[in-house]
Structures are given as C-alpha cells and as structure tokens.
Symmetry: C2
Subunit: 242 residues, 2 copies
DNA sequence: TAAATAGTGTCTCTAAGACATTATGTG
DNA sequence: CACATAATGTCTTAGAGACACTATTTA
C-alpha cells in the first residue's frame, strides 16, 4: 500500500512516555551541591528525586529541559547539556518511561526554589551527602552525571559556569578540587591558568585575613564557553555505566 | 487526590514516538564505511537514511539498538554505544518522533545485508562519499557520529572493534589514520602501542612484497574494551553540535 | 614580628613529535 | 644487488608535577 501524509496512522505503534530529568549542580559554601525534589505521590512517595517531567509535544528536548529547570529554580540562561537517555522497560512502575537526562550548572547566587505540584520539598544536597536511595534509577543517573561533570571539567571551561562574574584564581582552583575530588598544586594551577590566557584581571581586589586577592573575569562568553579549551589535566578516564 | 498503581492513568499525557537509529561503521578496502538504507516510503522516499526503527515496549534502548543492528546486518555481539538523543519537534513530518541514536562498529568480514520491508536498498558508503542529503536530520546525526568516533578513538581501544582477530601494527595504524583523517608517524605509533602493552604477539606472520609482518592479537576482551585505555594522543576537542 | 593568605620561580622527568637508521623479506 | 616494506633508535622540546620561595596584608 502506498503511504503518505494523509494515510499515515500515528497510532499504529505503542508509545512510551518521555520525560526530561535535569541534574542541577551548584556551588554552595564552597561545596558542590545537587538539587533534589521530594516526591509527593506514588511511586516512590517520600523519596528524593532528580527534578523532571514529561515533554510537551511541541517543544524540543533542550527546551523541555530549560522549562523544567526554570520551573524548579526560576533560573534561565544557564549551562545545559544532554547527558544520556535512560530507557530500561522497568525503570518506572507506572508505565514505560524513557528519560532524557540533562546536566545544568547554575551559579550559587541564583536560587529561589519552588515546591511544585508534584513535590513536597526542594533542597540542595552536597554531593557527598545524598539522601540515597533516590527514587527510580536516579542514583544511577546522578552518579553518571557526577562522573561526566568530572571528566568534562578537565577539557572544558565548564567550571566558570559555577562562579560569579568575578572571582579569584584560588576560588577557581577550589572548584576544580571540589569537582575532581582531589587537591591541586597551587603553583601549577596558577601557571596553567595564566598560560591558557582565558582570564582578564579586573581592578578589584578582595580583602581578607591575609594578603588581599586580585579578582578576575572570564574572557569568553559564558554561554559559548566551548571555544575556549582550558585543559586542566590531560588525564581522563571515561566512565561507562550500566 | 491520592494516586497509586490502581488509579494512575497512563494516557493522561500525549506521547511521542521513540525510535532507535544505529550508525553502523565498518572498514572496507581500508576505508571507513557507513551502512545506509534507501527509504521505500514517504516521507523522504528514495532518500538514504540511517537504519533504525521504533522501540518495542518491552525492550531496553540497548536491546532495541541490537535488534535493529541484527535486522539490518545479521550481526550480533558488536561494539555498541549510545550517541545522543535527537528530539526537535519537526524532525519527522509524520508525527513527533524522538530518536535515540547509537554508534556500532562491526568488523569488515561480517556482512550479509538484508533489504527490509521499509527499504529498497542497503549499502555501505565510504564516509567521504555519502549520498547527501540524507533523510530527516540524518546528515546531522551522521556528522556527529563521525566526530564522536574520532574523539573517542583517541582515548579508548575502540579501533580494535574494526579489526579482525589478528592484525599487524601498521594495519592498526591505518585505522587510526582513516578515522582521524591524518597521517601518523610510524615510529611513534610503534612506540606508543608497545608501551601501552595491550597487544600480544601471535606466532603468525603475513607475507607480502617486502619484509613479512608479525601479527598481533588484542589482549583485552573486545566486548569490555573500556578497561584498557590506549590513548593515542592527548589532544582532543569536543565537538558540540546544534 | 608572627600568622595568614596570595602569588612566583625553578628543577626534574616524562613523553610527544620529528626523523634517521636498521632489519628482513622478494625478484 | 635493488627494492619494498617492517621495525627500532635517537634527539629535541614542551609541559606536568613537586616543592621552595617571595609578597602583602592584619593582629
């Protein structure tokens, strides 16, 4: 039979539900945090979960992720990247649900959390003290998000997404240490960041207990950060999950 | 209202269709090739497309990709990796279709192509001579697959997936050159591959016009190749698309 | 001046890249 | 032998890592 726009039947196949889940990272008290929501309803009622929701039929996946992000945090124009698509048949007891997971990085200062109709609570958790187990397969998604964040940090300027407009070089180093989970050498860090030539000095200084520190600004457009590749280390080990 | 398994209504939301598309690479005549199918029906009738199809409700995404791969090539047990999920609302004129794209690498010797009910032709194309434009957004997907393949080659042992059981070191070098699209230094390649200690020498040699060449075998399990990280170069530039 | 924090300098060692050389087969 | 292809060796240089040192503020 000849098929065309008029005769095509879109209901011929069963269709799964498709959700977008967004793992939202931020830096709070110099520590990496993740936003989680507490589920109001079955399934996994009372469990913490990665925020997300069903996609609308007229929006792209990226748009859906941005919408979810804004609904949860009120934040727009942040770094957002597709992580992975999770689709085990039994990952959601309600029905077949395929979840396209995203990573978002937001700056510490922007936060006005809202409890949605789906949740009873919203909170930032330090990545080292998560309320596990999370709902669904969200432990798994979150672990993968963290490992991806870690490996991307080493060859992108992603870390700047977590910083305010101006910052000191040692603050930047601190972010790297937080996400990589290891101490870095101060001298080597200074050398590399200077060589990379991606920062510009502002006239500002911040006073503290010891010698005041110069404040710097990221040269690149934060939303197009990929053009600058500041590679902290060459090492990288890709983590395969599942 | 209290919700549970009994009262949950899975038809509450509109659902998109979800397909799995598999970009299948192989090496033929020492050149990187991609498998494409010619579409039998509207839309994009007569255009070449990346093979794929709708997922079944009871299979995982990986299983769906393996099923598609086997339907098209008869090949099982190959390297398979999720690439990206494409979901623009207008990428398919029939209905809202979200496509989870995969990359597969198959060895040159395994090929018995089958024309499916959906296609009028199946063929391997050298990546440098593709019948563009492809159907749907498949040009875009394919470009991304190639760039991903390239960058992964530099820090994984992925190349071995394209080789037969035994091979010479210069053949391996040739694959790297094919995928990376540049000449590599022979001496340096020998040095790195020896240092990596991921090959074992077989007693076999292959005779040719000049000095015969030793044949080697990959030490690792091909299906769990990630444990060995042979990094050809440290350089890598991540390509962002869209 | 001591403590605290910011920032610089220097040495070593590894490894990447360029390129020269040697090895082992055939006609 | 000449030719063809395989395989190894060597030199240079850039840069990562370790760590010592200097600078500038407050108490």
């Amino acid at each position: 039979m000849e098929e065309n726009a008029a005769t095509y039947d879109p209901t011929r196949y069963d269709r799964p539900s498709v959700t977008v889940d967004v793992v939202i990272f931020t830096l709070q008290n110099r520590e990496l945090h993740v936003l989680l929501v507490k589920r109001r309803r079955w399934p996994f009622e009372g469990y913490w979960a990665i925020p997300g929701g069903f996609i609308n039929m007229d929006e792209s996946l990226d748009q859906a992720a941005r919408r979810e992000l804004e609904e949860e945090t009120g934040v727009r124009d942040v770094y957002l990247e597709q992580l992975f698509t999770f689709g085990s048949p039994d990952r959601d007891p309600r029905t077949r649900v395929i979840s396209v997971a995203y990573i978002a990085l937001v700056r510490a200062d922007v936060q006005r959390l809202r409890v949605s109709e789906e949740s009873t609570d919203v909170r930032w958790f330090p990545v080292r003290e998560l309320p596990r187990p999370l709902a669904f397969d969200h432990d798994h998604i979150l672990d993968y998000a963290i490992s991806r964040l870690r490996s991307k940090l080493e060859y992108t300027t992603l870390a700047f997404q977590l910083l305010p407009e101006v910052f000191s070089i040692l603050e930047l180093k601190h972010i790297y240490e937080q996400i990589l989970g290891e101490k870095l050498d101060k001298g080597n860090f200074y050398r590399k960041i200077k060589e990379a030539d991606i920062l510009e000095k502002t006239p500002l200084v911040r006073e503290g207990r010891g010698r005041p520190t110069h404040l710097w600004r990221f040269k690149g457009d934060r939303n197009h950060e990929k053009q600058f590749v500041f590679r902290w280390r060459e090492d990288r080990v890709d983590v395969k999950h599942e």
